[in-house]
């Protein structure tokens, strides 16, 4: 069965510093990986995805993610954090059942950026 793990419940970083939010995955076949962000009392917003190609994927709001097949990881990164980046971040993997697919999410990592 496909799954993702987000080992950190919370990540704290000072504004202007680089940030990393970790994600590892387990999947049979090709991994299709996604990052979403959730602000308080809101739905999920898509940030970026890895389907194939370059291991470094660029997404919305200056975020990027690095796909590492040997380490089965898909860590979310940003060179310089903003206070407004504070939110809940979810890693997800595309799970395929009987030819159809849906997303399986990790439990989320709270990112707190201090001024």
């Amino acid at each position: 069965a496909q799954s993702v793990a987000q080992p950190e419940d919370q990540v704290n970083v000072a504004e202007g510093n680089p940030l990393t939010v970790k994600c590892t995955y387990s999947v049979s076949g090709n991994p299709y990986l996604f990052w979403y962000v959730q602000y308080p009392n809101r739905g999920l917003q898509f940030l970026l995805k890895y389907i194939t190609g370059d291991n470094l994927v660029k997404g919305s709001y200056g975020f990027e993610a690095e796909f590492n097949k040997s380490q089965t990881s898909f860590h979310l990164k940003k060179p310089s954090a903003l206070v407004s980046d504070s939110a809940l971040y979810f890693c997800a993997v595309r799970a395929i059942y009987s030819g159809y697919s849906t997303l399986t999410f990790g439990k989320g990592t709270m990112l707190l950026v201090s001024p």
Binding site: Y32, F34, Y36, N41, R42, G43, L44, Q45, F46, K49, I51, F90, R94, I96, Y97, S98, Y100, S101, T102, L103, T104, F105, G106, K107, G108
Partner: protein, 115 residues
């Protein structure tokens, strides 16, 4: 272009009651998925509808049922509510032709509280 819309945004029910949640997908999307997000957890897949039929189901009991209408909108019904059904219910839409590589678009959610 309207995104995914859900109603109601908040509701309170008592144990044993029934609830219906509604979702209108993003314009042009034909597939609707429902997720349950309990407090402090990642979204859990409930089921997916396409062409007015349930074509995938997660690990949820039969108390959870749904429907999709010809205009692609969808309803989620939960019978015999339990305290543990308290959660944010998220609707996500997608286009079946991009079901593997395409991202899901989420609504703001319906927050259900069961007392």
């Amino acid at each position: 272009d309207a995104g995914v819309t859900q109603s109601p945004t908040h509701l309170i029910k008592t144990r044993g009651q029934q609830v219906t949640l509604r979702c209108s997908p993003k314009s042009g999307h034909d597939t609707v998925s429902w997720y349950q997000q309990a407090l402090g957890q990642g979204p859990q897949f409930i089921f997916q509808y396409y062409e007015e039929e349930e074509r995938q189901r997660g690990n949820f009991p039969d108390r959870f049922s749904g429907h999709q209408f010809p205009n692609y909108s969808s309803e989620l019904n939960v019978n015999a509510l339990l305290l543990g059904d308290s959660a944010l219910y998220l609707c996500a839409s997608s286009l079946t032709g991009t079901s593997v590589t395409g991202e899901l678009f989420f609504g703001e959610g319906s927050r259900l509280t069961v007392l």
